[in-house]
Symmetry: C2
Subunit: 413 residues, 2 copies
């Protein structure tokens, strides 16, 4: 056995305390796999007195995380504070500046500043190493447990978004301010990291076309189910020639597909490689235990000197890819509120036909023809969003339209 790998741990919240507890609980097997002891030597957190179920006896205490990151006896600095600027960034930079290793599961920090080492969901190692021989055609993911929990319950119980959100907040599955989750930002951060791993491109968080689940209507979730689909907040990244397409938006997926069968807070990543075919990975997307598991795995790699570049290739070799102007063509789900009178459907068909959008399936929803208004559901053949929007603008402006048309992409998965 060589010298221990000495850890400086900044942050003792859910993630940080989870790391400390995991290192203590599995010290024997971690030492065997790392080839040496992995030992926390110094910590930093807001409140020294708080009981976190972690034994701090014998550990050095630093009130300032930058001071912790700068300690000569810290070989590896673990940033478990969170936040995309301020102390987390300053301390990470201090550690990197003196050549120390850094591990963080802080997606916000990674996406904005490209820190040196990525942690997090188990697919990172699969993409960066296990599938490194593959040219990836597409990487997709349901990457936010809160959103998938809300959508699952809306569909299963027929409850409105606001009602399920309030319940999720009571149960601790959603934050008091849920916008980072339900607005799609958290999931978009993760997608940007996966895209960099998959395609060797620079992390481009701002290039993710992002739309949350907060404006989804229960009606569309129910109608999608009638048609054999489910609605998921689905991230998709693919190359369009030299351009990188990144989307994190509600999509319809076939109910029988892996994404369609995904329930609750679980996350899922699907990678399509030219050699391996389709790989599906599913697991807990968040929480102290899973995140600590990912961080400790990185520590073990570093301890045995077998760590790979965070994004599969050295950061300097990541290409700056231009952003794709729009998503690849796809089929779309459309919901229209039309005047319930002869000729209304014909007007819609004509508007779609005029721009070359052809109809795969059209259903007049039986139970909603009331007050002279009919709900019409359409599944199109493959088209572009731009064509579709131009046709829907014509429909919306016509006298048969009784409400704003809804269009949601059907991702072929």
């Amino acid at each position: 056995m060589t010298e221990p790998l000495r850890i400086g741990l900044a942050g003792l919240g859910t993630v940080g305390a989870g790391v400390a507890r995991l290192l203590a609980a599995n010290a024997d097997l971690i030492a065997a796999r790392a080839g040496r002891e992995v030992r926390v030597v110094a910590v930093s957190a807001r409140d020294r007195a708080k009981d976190r179920g972690v034994d701090l006896a014998g550990l050095a205490w630093e009130a300032d995380p930058v001071a912790l990151a700068s300690r000569a006896d810290v070989d590896l600095f673990v940033e478990a504070m969170g936040g995309e600027s301020g102390p987390a960034k300053a301390a990470t930079e201090a550690a990197l500046a003196r050549g120390a290793h850094v591990v963080t599961a802080n997606k916000a920090l990674l996406a904005h500043h490209e820190a040196a080492v990525a942690g997090g969901i188990p697919c990172v190692k699969a993409l960066g190493e296990g599938l490194a021989g593959n040219r990836v055609a597409r990487v997709m993911g349901v990457l936010n447990g809160t959103c998938n929990y809300i959508l699952t319950r809306m569909e299963a119980e027929g409850l409105a978004y606001a009602e399920v959100l309030a319940d999720a907040q009571r149960l601790g599955y959603a934050e008091a301010d849920p916008s980072f989750d339900v607005g799609g930002t958290d999931a978009a951060h993760k997608l940007a990291l996966l895209a960099a791993l998959a395609f060797g491109t620079r992390v481009d968080f701002d290039g993710v076309m992002t739309e949350g689940i907060d404006k989804l209507s229960l009606a569309d979730i129910a109608h999608a189910a009638e048609l054999g689909f489910r609605i998921k907040l689905l991230g998709v990244a693919r190359m369009q020639g030299e351009a990188l397409e990144q989307r994190m938006r509600p999509c319809l997926v076939p109910a029988a597909s892996p994404f369609g069968k995904l329930e609750g807070v679980t996350n899922m990543v699907v990678v399509e490689g030219d050699a391996v075919g389709r790989i599906v990975m599913e697991g807990p997307g968040a929480g102290g235990g899973p995140t600590a598991s990912a961080i400790v795995a990185d520590m073990i790699d570093i301890a045995r000197g077998a760590h790979s570049p965070a994004f599969g290739v050295p950061a300097a070799l990541l290409r700056a890819a231009p952003r794709a102007e729009s998503g690849a063509p796809a089929a779309y789900y459309i919901r229209l509120a039309l005047a319930d009178r002869p000729g209304a459907l014909g007007r819609v068909a004509a508007a779609l036909g005029a721009v070359g959008v052809s109809i795969h399936r059209m259903v007049q929803s039986a139970d909603e023809a009331e007050g002279g208004e009919a709900t019409v559901l359409i599944v199109t053949h493959e088209t572009t969003r731009e064509r579709l929007d131009s046709a829907l603008a014509v429909v919306a402006a016509s006298d048969v339209s009784m409400g704003a048309p809804v269009a949601i992409r059907i991702e072929p998965v």
Copy 2:
């Protein structure tokens, strides 16, 4: 860029030719991720003249794979010949003896001889590295595509085993001699490797309690479905204290579980770690592309000097675990053919009760009470196989029994 990593490739069948094609097709991204060129310099195969869609121009040819493995200009020897002894073993040993790297996806060779580097399904890296901080409670897998294809079709189409097997052979999903697959041996090899990775124990292929799918009856598949289960050839490995339990046998799993939803030739691995929770991985289990993908990923790790020990810890540190004497307690599915007369069910209940096996659910199958014989299905509460067998022996010896009882474990997944 440093010097190229020079590959000696032994075997140009499905796997070997797949490796050569993948290295050629993705040379640019492989070099970027490996930090240097990965170049085949010499090959060996049975027939030099055969067209395999691989350009052999400029490559050295060795008729003898041992000579290939011994070449001074080969940094990494890839064994893609197959077989657990003979040339594959001799050549691998020759390469290891002179300190060259070896990559092989030959499960038979690995399971029997513990070669230095493991390739194969994408879960190897997840278990050995990505989840290295976890104490694994249980690792499970559907690991043979041929078996899962046959079981899926038997259930979906109500066809008998022999009929589906013949079809699978016509379609190329099963070998002319299918015993290595349908007898469970191939899947047991893979389970033994996963167990070594998960628990840090020596590979113990002979310690896997193995039973194939060739004796499964269509009736049990259908009855299991009626009860909300599906039958899978499921591998399970777990520690019972210091002892290692390894089983590769047909099991009932809930139809709504990930294994229950797995269709066709796809493989699935589930890992339960103390920190991460449950991780599910799904992908193609065999074929030239997926296997080549795994081999090239190992090559890239070796090229960048970031390869980990094949089994998570150095082979010398793997513990020789004693074999568990039997499986952990579980619920069981029982099918009985009983005389259709008063008191028959009471005799069964008494025999089970006498050894402490309690009944969770009992169903007399309605459509089969003919000729004075009734089919009775029982789901027990948790018990041991030994207790159950002693009770079933009493039932079988009684005058109400009209045929041998069937008992299949229900694995809680």
